[in-house]
């Protein structure tokens, strides 16, 4: 299995775990809780620290097992570029969903679309962080898919 594929698997698992931790701190019973700003900032800082630390550990472990072999080449870069394009599409779609939802909420208060109260800071933070995570997960899945086909 190529190093990039191992990295994608590890990053996927780490990202889902970190997002689950963030969701656990920000939600309750399927909805976002109106938590204090201090609580949100702590959760956000923890999320950043856990993402950086986990990915640094993954990269260090893979580098240790490299033993002089070439880490990546043009094919890996091409796969990464295509995966990043998928990530961009996913983030763009989700941001547009949030924009449409916010506009619908403003223009048609009785609309039937799923409701997120983006006027609430915790909900906005959670929605944006989840969008970034969804993009990252999509990138790792696209990477894994391309190494398999």
């Amino acid at each position: 299995m190529p190093e990039q594929e191992k990295f994608a698997w590890a990053s996927l698992i780490a990202s889902v775990l970190v997002w689950a931790y963030f969701a656990m701190r920000m939600t309750d019973g399927g909805g976002v809780v109106e938590v204090a700003a201090r609580h949100m900032i702590f959760s956000y800082v923890m999320l950043v620290v856990m993402m950086v630390a986990s990915h640094a550990v993954i990269a260090a472990m893979l580098a240790a097992g490299r033993r002089g072999r070439i880490a990546s080449d043009e094919r890996d870069l091409a796969i990464e570029a295509r995966a990043e394009r998928v990530e961009g599409y996913v983030v763009a779609v989700l941001v547009n969903v949030l924009v449409i939802q916010a506009l619908a909420e403003a223009a048609f208060p009785g609309h039937l679309l799923p409701r997120f109260d983006l006027g609430s800071v915790p909900t906005l933070v959670f929605a944006l962080i989840t969008t970034l995570f969804a993009g990252h997960v999509a990138k790792q899945l696209a990477t894994l898919w391309q190494y398999r086909v």
Partner: protein, 73 residues
């Protein structure tokens, strides 16, 4: 408008040349500055290498470029 109406396909003799030269995929990868996975993908014709890598492969086998790669419509 002119131009090709359908995409062609790059074929290669990398596996045959590598085996004739008595090289492993890892050894060839080391010689041309690629990963073993890329050599596997090139041999399986799942990946068409860049011109630079293609020329490095031809140089590694000491044969003309067109002996390694071909293009079919």
């Amino acid at each position: 408008m002119t131009g090709p109406s359908k995409r062609g396909h790059v074929t290669n003799n990398v596996r045959h040349l590598r085996e004739s030269a008595g090289l492993t995929q890892a050894e060839l990868a080391g010689r041309v500055g690629a990963t073993r996975q890329t050599i596997i993908a090139v041999e399986a014709e799942k990946y068409a290498p860049s011109l630079e890598l293609a020329f490095r492969l031809a140089r590694a086998f000491r044969v003309p470029f067109e002996s390694v790669f071909d293009y079919r419509d």
